[in-house]
């Protein structure tokens, strides 16, 4: 590596330090090459790698506080560098707390935004869910009623079969008897089914109602607690 390569690489490695610092360092090492006057390669070897040089410059700029306070431990007090570093350290700590403050503020803002979003999008959602629950209840009730109605209709059709069986008994006794028998079976089954279903409804519906009111109260209480 020659002088130009060294300086180019160093400049590239110092891109993220302040312009003033970069200029200073470049001038220093440029001077160093001029004054060394030896073989460029020897000087480069003496200087070490541009990475090492850049690393040390950055360490002193960025993590300067750590190094300086380490020095203070070595010497005790009376180290102005360390005192400056400590002052700088306090500075960064202040900046840190300020950051936390703004973070909290932005948290508040986010909470408000979230609440607004919930009100805007959540209300229709809640209405939708409510509508869904109501629809489901109506569906269950309708199903139950249709099942009961079917049972009642089975009874009716059974009665009708018995009646038409009696009417047909003289003209076609076999068919008449079959109709009467089938009608009676259907009628009895229908009656049993109807009675059972109605009884079941009388038990199930109040129970369901109680369960719903219980759940509702639970939700209400939780809201109160929160």
């Amino acid at each position: 590596m020659n002088r130009i390569e060294f300086m180019t690489e160093l400049a590239a490695l110092l891109q993220d330090v302040p312009v003033e610092e970069r200029k200073e360092a470049m001038q220093y090492y440029n001077d160093y090459f001029d004054d060394a006057g030896e073989e460029e390669k020897d000087v480069v070897k003496e200087l070490g790698s541009p990475e090492k040089v850049a690393e040390n410059i950055k360490k002193d700029l960025g993590i300067q506080t750590e190094i300086a306070s380490g020095g203070a431990q070595n010497t005790g007090a009376n180290h102005t560098g360390a005192q400056d570093a400590r002052a700088q350290n306090n500075g960064t700590q202040n900046v840190g707390t300020q950051n936390v403050g703004t973070q909290e503020q932005s948290n508040h803002i986010w909470k408000i935004v979230l609440i607004v979003l919930v009100v805007i999008f959540g209300l229709p959602l809640l209405l939708g869910i409510g509508g869904g629950v109501l629809g489901l209840l109506a569906g269950i009730i309708a199903t139950v009623f249709s099942v009961i109605l079917t049972a009642v209709l089975v009874v009716v059709s059974g009665v009708l079969a018995v009646v038409s069986g009696i009417a047909l008994l003289i003209a076609e006794p076999a068919v008449g008897l079959a109709l009467i028998g089938g009608g009676l079976i259907a009628g009895v089954c229908g009656v049993i089914a109807s009675v059972l279903l109605v009884k079941l409804c009388m038990i199930a519906f109040p129970a369901a109602g109680r369960w719903i009111t219980k759940m509702w109260n639970k939700v209400k209480n939780r809201k109160k607690v929160a």
């Binding site: 360092a25 040089v53 002193d60 203070a72």
Partner: protein, 107 residues
């Protein structure tokens, strides 16, 4: 050398080297002079010079030399005070260590 040179000692050595020249001295020469006492890499010396400059212990100025500008470092009043503190501290410190080492032999 088996002993490490801490940041404060390095500051003190650099201040002492620069203060020897009333007119001030330049980077390459400082490096050579410091190397006369301790083994230190160039990459650790530049940050020290820069820090001492920022702390107000050193000032820099450019002077024509060989048809180009050369950067010179000079000790300030504050730098002199700081060096005095380091000298006193070092005297105490080295005396204690020497007493410990040699006192052990005598006793």
């Amino acid at each position: 050398m088996v002993f490490n040179t801490g940041a404060a000692l390095l500051d003190a050595i650099v201040l002492a080297v620069v203060s020897r020249e009333a007119e001030g001295t330049y980077g390459y020469k400082i490096t050579q002079d410091v190397r006369g006492a301790i083994d230190v890499s160039e990459s650790t010396l530049y940050p020290v010079l820069r820090r001492l400059q920022k702390d107000g212990c050193l000032v820099v100025y450019d002077r024509q030399f060989d048809g180009r500008n050369r950067r010179y470092y000079k000790v300030t009043e504050r730098g002199r005070d700081q060096l005095e503190i380091y000298r006193t501290e070092w005297k105490e410190y080295s005396l204690k260590i020497s007493n410990l080492f040699e006192g052990g032999v005598i006793a």
